[in-house]
């Protein structure tokens, strides 16, 4: 018998133009939680897909409990006891939550027909254990990203697995959900189930994992007990260089009021929301998942119709009926769902980078190819987008690199107000700094930045002012200078519906 439940040895996997895995190896002990980290595009997701049989490696061997396996498709790996939560959401939007959770693992009655009453009950139970109380017979597409992520997790923990892989499960979860998820992971661990946990949030790894494996450019760098390593050590191994402080907030001066919102209403979702955002400042929006932050920004951006309220830009009241008008009036909106709303996956990196400002890249009626190419080069370099070339199809980049393309798209627009909804979702530590630098540059140039984030350190590290939302209402507004309340505890308290003592 082997010491490991799952072992990968000497795996090499190539894609057109890239070697995604290069003689990579990985071993997971029974009942342990193994962290797996690396830069965006390092090959983590590819490694996982080789392990679950989605991809077939050119070289290398996979052992489960000591015996060699050749996984030709996800069924084979599931049969061997491996379950997986993939990085990208794979939701059947039109089908019910139950259907999604039990996809290809349906419960049947004795008659052979599907037993929906049993499945619905079980689905409700599992979702509740994950802290989500919903009617599982509703279509999955009607729920937000957070719920959808939980559906994916429910899918994996429902089957009787020896090992569960989670590829950035927390990237679209809020603090509360993350905590619940960790609790569940520990429970699973106690039952002897191994977990491979991928995350770009290092503090999560330190809290949860027993060991951690670092990979870079498709290669195995090292594996250590979590207690034998620290933040700097991890970052150096990952990025190949050491890094300065994560949050370097630029000193800027508060300018004019760029955006003022008065009593915005949207049936059932937003209730009389009012706030102001200033030039030269970063306004953070905190709250639990489902707090309605995304809905608020969509309403301001003209993506959804509103049922009442006023919007003032630079002091002037504006009617915004469509995103086009919003953009014309100088608003940029980086959406949280990059696959569904941010990118045209079938188009090139270059095309996506200029998407929000096609006019600006035209000379006369024609697209200025030279300018487009130069801007593309610049974006790829400054944001460190890992891609064979800017003509590569965006859909083939790694998740984090796709996110960087979305950020690049909005940087290339000539906006004055930048709304970033979860801008660092799935971005590695190194690149996060780049994103923060981008925000700093924007505020230094006197622009207004609004950042929605479910990562408390980010909110605290970057915001000049924080607005906390809950159930479509603003619960609190806290200034950076307000030393008494500008802290994690008070923000969380507001997010949970508590009063902050003034």
């Amino acid at each position: 018998m082997s010491d490991y439940v799952v072992e990968l040895k000497g795996v090499t996997k190539r894609f057109p133009g890239v070697v995604a895995l290069d003689n990579m190896s990985l071993s997971v002990k029974p009942g342990e939680i193994l962290g797996l980290i690396g830069e965006n595009g390092a090959g983590k997701s590819t490694l996982i897909k080789v392990l679950t049989g989605v991809y077939q490696a050119e070289e290398g061997k996979v052992y489960v409990s000591g015996t060699e396996h050749h996984f030709k498709n996800p069924n084979d790996s599931a049969a061997a006891g491996i379950a997986c939560v993939y990085q990208e959401l794979n939701i059947e939007k039109l089908l019910s939550v139950t259907d999604n959770i039990f996809i290809n693992k349906w419960m049947k009655k004795k008659s052979g027909f599907l037993d929906y009453s049993a499945m619905n009950a079980r689905a409700k139970e599992v979702m509740e254990s994950l802290g989500i109380d919903i009617d599982p017979s509703k279509a999955a597409g009607t729920f937000g990203m957070g719920v959808q992520q939980m559906i994916e997790i429910a899918k994996a923990i429902l089957i009787d697995a020896k090992m569960i892989i989670m590829d950035e499960p927390t990237s679209s979860l809020g603090e509360k959900e993350v905590e619940l998820l960790m609790k569940i992971c520990r429970k699973l661990k106690d039952r002897g189930i191994s977990i491979v946990f991928v995350s770009h949030k290092l503090e999560e790894l330190f809290e949860l994992c027993d060991r951690v494996t670092v990979m870079r450019d498709g290669e195995h760098i090292w594996t250590k007990e979590i207690s034998e390593t620290d933040n700097d050590d991890l970052i150096t191994a990952m990025v190949g260089r050491s890094m300065d402080q994560l949050f370097v907030k630029a000193e800027t001066t508060k300018g004019e009021c760029a955006l003022r919102v008065e009593n915005i209403k949207e049936g059932g979702v937003l209730h009389d929301v009012s706030f102001e955002a200033y030039n030269g400042q970063i306004l953070g929006f905190a709250g639990l998942v489902g707090a309605g932050r995304t809905e608020l920004m969509r309403a301001i951006f003209g993506a959804d119709p509103i049922d009442g309220g006023k919007i003032f830009i630079n002091g002037k009241e504006e009617k915004i009926r469509s995103p086009k008008e919003a953009i014309r009036k100088g608003i940029a909106f980086l959406t949280e769902d990059r696959k569904g709303q941010g990118l045209v996956l079938g188009q090139s990196v270059q095309m996506n980078l200029i998407l929000a400002n096609l006019k600006g890249f035209c000379k006369g009626i024609f697209i200025d190819d030279k300018k487009v190419r130069e801007t593309g080069e610049e974006n790829v370099k400054s944001l460190r987008i890992k891609t064979p070339s800017q003509d590569e199809i965006v859909g083939q980049l790694s998740g984090g690199n796709q996110q960087k393309v979305v950020i690049g798209k909005w940087i290339n627009s000539d906006a004055n107000i930048f709304i970033f909804d979860e801008p660092t979702r799935g971005i590695d530590v190194g690149a996060k700094v780049e994103v923060y630098n981008v925000m700093n540059t924007l505020t230094e140039a006197g622009k207004c930045v609004i950042m929605i984030s479910s990562e408390m350190p980010e909110i605290l590290g970057m915001s000049d002012r924080v607005i906390v939302m809950r159930e479509g209402r603003i619960m609190a507004t806290i200034n950076r200078g307000d030393l008494k309340n500008f802290n994690q505890e008070d923000i969380m308290k507001a997010a949970w519906g508590g009063k902050i003592d003034e």
């Binding site: 939701i91 059947e92 039109l94 089908l95 019910s96 996809i103 290809n104 052979g112 599907l114 279509a139």
Partner: protein, 335 residues
């Protein structure tokens, strides 16, 4: 949003729009012509719906997978011609005839599926369009471009018989529509209550999700196209019973368009993942009812085409509008 409730207990409620369109049509027509609302005419409508309803069943399954099967009509005609060929060769055993007909349909469907899944053709539009042409040619070839008539009674029974007039209320009800009802019930249960049925929706709704969950999309797709072939073969038997002949030249008739229209009116989508049997049946009935009504009114082809075109648009428009109003009402109610 109601469009998502694929498993709602009463699929009919989801299709209120098209059901409404059907009712309005029927009411208008009963005022326009006294012969519309007679028992015998209603039986005619059922008779005339049978072929399209059967073909639509196969089409629906393909549409749910985000595919399409343009060869359905040509396949049905090919099956009639295969049976005709037997007749020309002197084979008159009805069982053999029916088996050959059904076998041909299934085989063609299987080839369609294989082309799509094993040869990785980009979209079934291409392979089935090609297949439509091939089948048209084959249908002509096997019967030597002749028209075959004189099929045995047992073969034409399905397409031509009705319940005896002595049966109360349902006297004259066509056997072919009984087959349609049986198939729609079986398929309805199949699509909503079996693992394979649900997999079909999954493959269509999000192929990547289906693949990652280990559903063998290729097999599911092949199954769907084979099923579509089977439905075409059943339609072929009804066709032979109705017209009494096999004629390869009919392969260009727009059976495929009619079937697609029925499915779409009934709520299916080209983007896959959507569509119900009950909706499709309503869609097929709407198409027949318009045609029947216009025939009763002896309207010229010109006007007939215009009306059919408008009804296709309106039926769907009604549905979409109802759904949008619904969503709006719910949004406002949530306040």
């Amino acid at each position: 949003m109601s469009k998502g409730k694929l498993k709602s207990k009463n699929g009919l409620a989801d299709r209120l729009g098209s059901l409404g369109a059907l009712l309005v049509l029927c009411i208008v027509l009963s005022f326009a012509t006294s012969s519309f609302l007679t028992q015998s005419n209603i039986m005619n409508i059922f008779k005339q719906t049978s072929v399209n309803a059967l073909i639509s069943t196969g089409m629906l399954v393909c549409l749910i997978t985000a595919g399409i099967d343009l060869s359905v009509g040509a396949n049905a005609i090919f099956c009639t011609c295969m049976m005709g060929m037997l007749l020309q060769k002197g084979v008159t055993n009805p069982l053999i005839m029916i088996l050959v007909g059904i076998g041909s349909g299934i085989l063609v469907g299987f080839i369609n599926g294989t082309l799509l899944t094993r040869l990785h053709l980009p979209h079934p539009f291409v392979s089935t369009l090609g297949m439509k042409n091939v089948l048209w040619g084959m249908a002509l070839l096997v019967v030597n471009s002749q028209i075959v008539s004189g099929f045995p009674k047992q073969v034409t029974w399905l397409g031509s018989s009705t319940l005896p007039a002595s049966v109360p209320v349902l006297g004259g009800f066509p056997i072919s529509f009984i087959l349609v009802i049986i198939i729609f019930i079986i398929m309805g249960i199949f699509l909503s209550k079996t693992a394979l049925g649900r997999s079909i929706y999954c493959v269509g709704g999000n192929p990547e999700a289906a693949r990652l969950s280990g559903i063998q999309s290729a097999n599911v797709l092949t199954f769907c196209y084979t099923l579509s072939g089977l439905m075409s073969a059943l339609a072929a038997i009804v066709l032979v019973g109705r017209g009494g002949i096999a004629n390869g030249a009919n392969a260009i008739q727009p059976y495929d368009t009619d079937a697609i229209a029925a499915c779409i009116i009934g709520g299916a989508s080209f983007m896959g993942g959507k569509g119900t049997m009950s909706g499709t049946l309503i869609g097929a009935l709407i198409i027949t009812v318009i045609r029947n009504g216009l025939q009763l009114l002896s309207v010229s082809t010109a006007v007939q085409n215009i009306v059919i075109g408008l009804v296709i648009i309106l039926a769907v428009l009604l549905d979409v509008t109802r759904e949008r109003m619904d969503a709006r009402a719910r949004r406002l109610a949530a306040k």
